[in-house]
Symmetry: C2
Subunit: 247 residues, 2 copies
């Protein structure tokens, strides 16, 4: 039985603490949060970091900027990991046993499921600790991929494109419908087909549209339809990027 303490009670921290509490080979020792809703501290929860007990593994599920603020409270001979996609393992200068446990998921208030089938990108300074992280992710019902810090940072960047940017682009498409009294639901089958085609083919090969065809007349018509100056710039920049990709 291995003792785990979770630092942080945001989305990832809460899901980790709740999941670990139900595992066979791992035990939740402490769960730190600075504030708790209505001051209701759950079982094993603490709100004073100095109350943190000596644990086998500390999981820092806090914002990137706060990770190093907890080092004073965590013994240097314990295993310590953070959950950040963008932060290198090298932040743990004084910890010989350290690593990363980055759950790859769309973090959103809508997402209440636990970590079943979630892929964790894991990394550790030594093999024994890496194996421990592998075991933990499997116990959580997830998968794992061993990536180094540079790969993980790039995966995180890629996730920004395929999640954040795609969401924004579709929002812009929806705005055009809203502004012209067109039901956005007409486009939903297209969106589904688009994604199915992308997931099953090379997106570069299946690119279509006026930018890809070099259909100047349609591109000009579209720019006339777009009234907002920022949206014109966005349309232009993506169009040029498509054209550059096939030169």
């Amino acid at each position: 039985m291995l003792n785990i303490s979770v630092i942080g009670n945001g989305n990832v921290g809460s899901k980790l603490a709740r999941s670990i509490d139900n595992l066979k080979d791992f035990k939740l020792l402490d769960w730190y949060g600075r504030n708790w809703i209505n001051n209701k501290i759950p079982e094993k929860g603490i709100d004073k970091i100095k109350d943190l007990k000596k644990s086998d593994l500390y999981i820092l599920a806090v914002s990137d900027n706060s990770i190093d603020k907890f080092f004073d409270f965590i013994p240097k001979d314990s295993l310590i990991v953070h959950c950040s996609g963008a932060t290198s393992i090298n932040i743990f200068k004084d910890y010989s046993r350290s690593g990363v446990l980055f759950p790859l998921q769309t973090i959103s208030k809508l997402n209440n499921k636990l970590f079943t089938k979630t892929t964790f990108c894991i990394e550790a300074k030594n093999k024994k600790d890496l194996n421990l992280l592998k075991k933990l992710t499997l116990s959580l019902g997830g998968y794992n991929e061993c990536l180094n810090s540079k790969q993980r940072a790039n995966l995180h960047l890629s996730a920004v494109w395929v999640n954040n940017f795609v969401n924004h682009i579709i929002y812009k498409g929806k705005r055009i419908c809203d502004d012209n009294n067109i039901s956005f639901s007409i486009l939903k089958p297209i969106i589904k087909t688009t994604i199915n085609q992308i997931l099953n083919n090379d997106p570069k090969e299946i690119q279509t549209g006026p930018a890809r065809r070099g259909d100047i007349k349609t591109l000009e018509k579209h720019k006339e339809l777009i009234k907002d100056l920022n949206d014109k710039v966005l349309y232009d920049t993506i169009t040029k990027s498509i054209q550059n990709s096939y030169e």
Copy 2:
């Protein structure tokens, strides 16, 4: 029984001609194509536009720039429609009976299905012809939405965002994985979740990520990771667009 002639043997023209040939209340009279693969002209196919017989309905499934090049060969008292999203009904100046039959679908060489469940955006100068187009789309197994030319042009523009642009953005995300020896398949569950969340919520409400949070540190890290100058511009432009949307 109504005679229909299809002009064009590209993706849309071919699917229309093949579908109409099987209908109960409509009959394919002529199917014009400038060139046929291996010079094999199908039944009812013609390759000389002057061979076009007098028909009840002419469907122009040709490129936007070619639509008006066929007017000399089509009697002014027949019903004539085009299949373009971006072209106004007003192109038919000399036709009192005219309209539009725009199938909303991802036009792609991968898409071999006929028009079952496809939504057609329809428009006509008079109600009787609009009803005829409604009947035709239903016979084809599709749905229809009555949109005017301005709405249809905007819907076409919106489809460029949700299809062409989304495809390109995901291609850029995939490139980051390819360049860093990361399997793109790790991101596929995120892409699926992203789209499910968009289809079932307001995309503006569920936007997440460093741009939305104003997480300058991560934005700076990402810009360091992106080496290609055009990709830096694209990242920057989309990031600013997200920030502008929540000011």
